[in-house]
């Protein structure tokens, strides 16, 4: 009896040990698994951050730092001199004003117009709707460059070149930069909203416009945020259309000034290289100039980067709620 008992006890202990071991193996496996998971995430994040970090580091370096071989990332002399010089070269405040007018103006108008249009497509049935919807998709697929020549001549005839009108007026009509995409986002959003609220408003005697403006539009906040942010960012970074319609430096936006600054710098380097063999670094550009350009790029993206920092959390949430992906 005793031996049996002891045997049984030993058996239980062994079993308990086995369970204990298994759970440790499992836990170990999940720890390794999540370690790999975070490692992948972190290394990908590094690749995404790298250019930004690189630019920040370079933009803070002075000639002494560039010459110093021991310095790779953190400059010894923390100096904002490059930024000061870049601000002058960019005509920063002027460019900023133009950029703000173009991108925020167009973005606000696109939110208003694309929402209205998207609502019409999502909530009404009318003859020819299928065709118009197909045309919206078609508009999205046409490269803007295909139609730019006639459009340029059209704006030239109207006297709109060197004004902000070529950006503002199409945006007002739900066109402009990626306007069709924004219309599609709103269509997708309004389709998902329940009918009940609208019907209640109609029964209470509200007209179509009042129902839309008072009830439906305020509910579209997630879609608005996504469209607004995309629109601002894309307009901000766009170089193609401003280069078409804004031809005088006075009207340049920041991206244009930056491109101009960079082009000039490259040209100077070429001329210098042609006359004397200057000591330039591997990139073929005088070291300080390159750092100034980095500072310029940082200045150009700083405003939208700041905006993104503040709206980032809501932005991702909104994308999930917009149903951007449903089409």
């Amino acid at each position: 009896m005793e031996t049996v008992k002891i045997n049984r006890a030993a058996e239980y202990r062994e079993k308990a040990d086995a369970v204990w071991k298994v759970s440790w193996v499992k836990r170990g496996r999940s720890i390794i698994g999540s370690a790999i998971y975070y490692l992948v995430l972190l290394s990908l994040s590094f690749v995404f951050m790298y250019p930004l970090l690189y630019m920040i580091s370079k933009s803070l370096m002075r000639p002494q730092d560039v010459a110093d071989a021991t310095i790779r990332w953190v400059p010894k002399m923390f100096s904002l001199q490059n930024y000061k010089e870049a601000m002058v070269a960019l005509d920063f405040w002027h460019g900023l004003l133009n950029s703000v007018i173009i991108s925020f103006g167009s973005a606000i108008l696109q939110v208003l117009s694309c929402s209205l249009i998207g609502y019409g497509f999502a909530r009404y049935r009318f003859p020819g709707q299928g065709i118009f919807l197909a045309l919206v998709v078609f508009t999205f697929l046409i490269p803007p460059q295909t139609i730019v020549v006639p459009l340029f001549i059209f704006f030239l005839d109207l006297g709109w070149v060197n004004t902000h009108l070529p950006f503002v007026v199409p945006a007002l009509m739900g066109h402009g930069l990626k306007g069709a995409l924004f219309v599609l986002i709103f269509i997708q959003f309004y389709r998902r909203l329940p009918n009940v609220l609208e019907e209640a408003a109609r029964i209470d005697g509200a007209g179509a416009m009042r129902t839309y403006w008072g009830i439906m539009f305020p509910m579209a906040k997630p879609a608005m945020l996504v469209v607004f942010l995309f629109s601002v960012v894309w307009h901000w970074n766009d170089l193609f259309e401003p280069n078409m319609y804004l031809l005088v430096p006075e009207y340049f936006n920041l991206a244009q000034s930056m491109a101009f600054f960079n082009g000039n710098a490259n040209l100077n380097v070429q001329q210098a290289a042609a006359s004397v063999s200057v000591a330039s670094d591997a990139l073929g550009m005088a070291p300080t100039l390159q750092n100034q350009i980095m500072a310029g790029v940082m200045l150009t993206i700083a405003p939208i980067l700041l905006m993104y920092l503040f709206t980032q959390r809501y932005f991702v949430e909104s994308v999930e709620r917009t149903g951007i992906a449903g089409e």
Partner: protein, 292 residues
């Protein structure tokens, strides 16, 4: 309810619908249909600037023929653009789906990681990326820098290593191009009901099987949207050489007619590619049709 203009309910509904979208329709004619028609007309003509505007002389398909026969640069440029597109779009899709799956998991600091992954959307679009590309910072020599090269050159022979590292660097460009796509995939993943995974788990599916049997079929529509978006984006983005070439022809040489013709050839090429994509996905979409 009062009747307006003696219209029936249905008539009024239609009228209201039209008035909501009328703005877009007017815009479509002004900023899309008419310019498109004009550019087709230009492409068939020789245009010259004179005192009373543009003077057009009809030349038929001369410009189109010239693009393929006498222009030495245009066709090779088309080819490089096509190859870049064909190699990059699949990579973008795979990478963005992978990232979306990573970011969709329950992890600490998910918000921060997402913020970082969308960073390219904010700073990489358009001019800034072009700037970076010219600077060489953005050659993004993350892999192709000297340290790594010397360390690895002992293990891997140089003539294999070098292209490998360069390829890895071009991958970073792919990563930078996939911000919007990651966003769309995440939004798509959010719509998949957890009960599907529970059901799969109960039936004894491993995570790998659950991905192929549940996740993948459910995000085929987003895959389609992303494919379209990536293709259109790669054809129209700032550092596209064909676009540069066309614009150069138009504005530096004032060759409006020829520029328009090239624009149309390019557009038709894109249309063919998109039609192929549509055809491929119609089969896939039909398989997942009827889901909620």
């Amino acid at each position: 309810m009062k009747k307006k203009f003696g219209l029936s309910m249905r008539g009024r509904h239609i009228l209201e619908g039209y008035s909501f979208v009328s703005l877009w329709i007017i815009g479509f004619f002004l900023f899309m249909a008419i310019p498109l028609g004009r550019s087709l007309y230009y492409s068939l003509n020789n245009l010259e600037m004179s005192k009373n505007g543009l003077v057009a002389t009809y030349v038929g398909l001369t410009h189109y023929r010239a693009a393929f026969t006498s222009d030495v640069d245009f066709v090779p440029l088309l080819q490089t653009t096509m190859t870049t597109m064909l190699t990059q779009v699949p990579l973008i899709l795979i990478f963005s789906m992978f990232s979306a799956l990573l970011l969709n998991g329950k992890i600490k600091g998910r918000g921060i990681f997402r913020g970082i992954f969308f960073l390219p959307v904010i700073i990489a679009s358009g001019a800034i990326l072009k700037e970076l590309l010219q600077q060489g910072a953005a050659q993004l020599p993350i892999f192709y820098n000297n340290d790594l090269y010397y360390k690895l050159s002992g293990i891997i022979p140089g003539n294999i290593l070098e292209p490998l590292l360069q390829y890895a660097d071009s991958l970073t460009l792919v990563m930078w191009d996939s911000g919007v796509q990651i966003l769309i995939f995440i939004a798509g993943l959010q719509t998949i009901s957890p009960s599907l995974y529970e059901a799969a788990h109960c039936d004894g599916a491993t995570k790998w099987e659950a991905f192929w049997k549940v996740t993948f079929p459910m995000i085929v529509p987003m895959l389609f949207v992303n494919t379209l978006y990536s293709i259109v984006n790669s054809f129209t983005k700032a550092d596209n050489q064909v676009m540069d070439y066309i614009m150069n022809n138009v504005f530096a040489n004032n060759n409006y007619g020829y520029g328009s013709a090239m624009g149309w050839i390019y557009f038709l090429l894109i249309a063919v590619v998109l039609a192929i994509v549509f055809a491929i996905f119609r089969k896939g979409m039909a398989a997942t049709e009827g889901r909620g």
